[in-house]
């Protein structure tokens, strides 16, 4: 399937908006056309009726002998619609007699004989009644003409009514309708947003919950909802999560149980080897070699079991920090000393970092240092230098930085993330990351640090020489005096 450019929610909102726009435009168009037809029709009908009546009245009062000079007075007696001009046209030199009804505002109507379109005048010349709608200057007019048979030769009574007020009304109606359409469209979009949000809120909750689960909060569950459609999604999601949690817990419990079960035989092995060690001198050479191998491997085995147990506790989530305040320089020096069986490793510190007191889980951070040190023993000639300072990335928040350097071959850039994964030795066998020889050491380091909110990464040495530099950061641990 082609990836869609817009999300489902955006499409719902756009649909609502476009729907509202189209609907309101159609309604506006219908309303406008009906109203405009109706208004104009009424006005023109009225104009026609009054014109016909006036023409008849005029005709009744006229004889061929009537003086043209009296016509003005006769026209003034007529009742006409507002904004209407009247006139009489003769076949012998057509003459506009009166341009205004009495009482009409003089400026309201700029209509004269010459305003009449030629087509209309042509129609009148044939002596026929005619109607026509046309534009004069800035407004539409509706003109009606009736012949007056009693008057002298082919006189036509002409009445021209302005439709300007009607078109004005229609213009403002159009503006109102367009405004209403715009408001309707906006409301449609708002409604679309509301519906979209309502509709997709279960989806958003599901995705938020899934993100939480991915981050390790396996006990995340969605609240049950009464809606039958969404309810099914929620309950299957919850069922899936429970199954996943159970599965993961079973796996980690298995690791924990296995390492637990290994402790008893390991105890017997440890004790037995100790008893044998006591009698090492009584043994033949070959047995001594075998005993040494046994002792070394039991030690490795013991560390492996302990690391496995430790890491399975992280997996089950049954871990908590047991923090204590310690002097950082002293702590790191002692931890290194314990890890290297007393070999002196120089611990240098940034100016002012010599009396930092930090609140940390001693056991865990000591294990971090021990595992890093063992890792350095394995791949280099051990840690050659430790550097302590405030973490510039966590400036002012009480973060500290512990860096351990060695003089080994360093870590290739493409392996710098990999080495912190479990059993990370992979096919290359000799890869870094296996403090215990089985590849759990550095992943335990990561877990211990994560519990503190800290991080670890590996970089080149500051001085550019060959070797690795492991950088541990612990945020917010410095205790204010």
């Amino acid at each position: 399937m082609m990836p869609r450019r817009f999300g489902l929610r955006a499409r719902v909102i756009v649909s609502f908006g476009v729907g509202a726009l189209l609907l309101s435009l159609v309604l506006s168009a219908v309303t406008y056309s009906l109203t405009s037809a109706n208004l104009i029709e009424r006005r023109t009908e009225f104009a026609q009726t009054t014109a016909l009546r006036n023409a008849r009245d005029l005709n009744d009062r006229l004889t061929p002998e009537t003086d043209r000079a009296r016509f003005g007075g006769l026209l003034a007696a007529n009742v006409t619609p507002d904004d209407t001009a009247q006139g009489l046209l003769y076949n012998d030199g057509w003459e506009w007699v009166d341009t205004l009804s009495p009482g009409q505002a003089a400026g309201a109507l700029r209509f004269t004989q010459s305003s009449l379109p030629d087509e209309l005048v042509d129609a009148f010349e044939d002596g026929m009644p005619a109607v026509m709608q046309f534009d004069v200057g800035d407004g539409p007019f509706y003109a009606v003409g009736y012949p007056l048979p009693n008057a002298e030769a082919n006189a036509i009574y002409v009445q021209a009514t302005s439709l300007q007020d009607v078109t004005g009304t229609l213009d403002s109606l159009l503006a109102t309708l367009l405004g209403a359409s715009a408001v309707t469209t906006i409301l449609g979009i708002a409604f679309g947003i509301y519906i979209g949000t309502r509709l997709f809120s279960p989806v958003s909750e599901v995705s938020a919950a899934a993100a939480q689960i991915a981050e390790g909060a396996l006990d995340t569950r969605l609240d049950e909802v009464p809606d039958p459609d969404i309810g099914r999604l929620v309950s299957s999601f919850n069922a899936m999560t429970s199954a996943l949690q159970e599965r993961i817990e079973r796996d980690s419990r298995f690791a924990s149980d296995v390492s637990h079960e290994l402790r008893s035989p390991l105890m017997t092995l440890t004790g037995s080897v100790a008893v044998l060690e006591k009698r090492r001198e009584e043994m033949p050479e070959r047995a001594k070699v075998a005993l040494d191998l046994l002792t070394a491997d039991i030690r490795r085995f013991k560390i492996l079991v302990e690391d496995l147990l430790e890491i399975s506790r992280f997996d089950v989530g049954a871990v908590e920090l047991d923090t204590e305040e310690v002097l950082l320089t002293d702590f790191v020096a002692r931890a290194l000393q314990a890890a290297t069986s007393g070999r002196e490793v120089p611990v240098i510190h940034d100016p002012g970092a010599d009396d930092l007191i930090v609140d940390i889980d001693k056991r865990r951070i000591a294990q971090v240092i021990r595992n890093l040190s063992e890792n350095a023993d394995k791949y280099a000639e051990g840690v050659t230098q430790a550097r302590i300072g405030l973490d510039p990335a966590d400036d002012g928040q009480g973060g500290v930085r512990i860096e351990l350097e060695d003089e080994g071959p360093g870590v290739p850039i493409d392996e710098r993330e990999l080495i912190f994964e479990r059993f990370a030795r992979g096919s290359e066998g000799g890869r870094r990351g296996s403090g215990t020889g089985v590849g759990l050491g550095l992943s335990l380091v990561v877990e211990h640090l994560r519990l503190h909110g800290g991080t670890i990464h590996v970089a080149d040495r500051v001085d550019g020489l060959l070797g690795a530099r492991f950088i541990v950061t612990l945020p917010g641990v410095v205790v204010d005096e």
């Binding site: 017997t268 004790g271 100790a274 314990a338």
Partner: protein, 222 residues
């Protein structure tokens, strides 16, 4: 010493190893046997596995603690569970996590049996309010009545009493009382201080004598 352990192989090897270190070892395969043997023959140190069929290790520990202050070492399967604290609360003086080195066990036993050695104040009885501590006689009096403390609790009190008002860090107390190095388990100190308080403090929740100094350790208020 008496070792209580239901796993035959472990019990045998612990006995062998401890005998190598020069200790005489009595064995018990269950809590019931342990209490019987302890009543009949006694022991200088008792090593108890918490996971026992029948009466569990905590019960054995509490039973022994009711009658004597003999040093007790608990053997736990894990170091970070509530087992450790529960074992210490039940009256154990120290604990080890399986699998341990026999040498380590031997060192722990020696530390527990070592007599409290306070500095210059050794023979002098010291008084703190209504509390009177006589290191050389091994006696603690509260308002004139003798308070019954275990050896470890006594050593802890004497250590604190050697510097009235001075703050002792958990590391220092671990080293002086239990013989641990810097990386010993601070919970040992915490639980023992708690037990000591229930015996000598008028109100253990608001201690008058053994006071916690946050982030630093403990001190005895003169």
């Amino acid at each position: 010493m008496l070792t209580v352990e239901d796993d035959d192989s472990i019990r045998t090897v612990v006995k062998l190893a401890l005998e190598d270190e020069g200790w005489g070892v009595l064995e018990a395969g269950s809590g019931e046997d342990a209490l019987e043997i302890f009543r009949a023959e006694g022991a200088d140190v008792v090593l108890i596995d918490i996971m026992l069929p029948g009466i569990n290790g905590f019960e054995v520990c509490r039973s022994i603690r009711r009658t004597t202050d003999v040093p007790i070492i608990m053997v736990t399967a894990r170091s970070d569970t509530h087992d450790v604290v529960a074992g210490l609360e039940a009256g154990a003086d120290d604990y080890l996590t399986k699998p341990f080195e026999p040498k380590e066990l031997s060192a722990r036993i020696r530390a527990l049996l070592r007599r409290s050695r306070s500095q210059a104040t050794d023979t002098m009885a010291m008084t703190f309010g209504e509390l009177e501590v006589s290191p050389d006689e091994g006696v603690v009096l509260l308002r004139g009545d003798q308070v019954h403390l275990t050896k470890t609790e006594f050593k802890l009190l004497v250590e604190l009493a050697s510097g009235p008002g001075k703050v002792f860090s958990r590391e220092t107390l671990l080293e002086k009382v239990w013989g641990y190095d810097y990386f010993g388990d601070g919970r040992l100190v915490d639980v023992h201080v708690r037990r000591l308080r229930t015996k000598i403090e008028p109100d253990p929740a608001d201690p008058r004598y053994v006071v916690t100094v946050r982030g630093l350790g403990y001190k005895l208020v003169p």
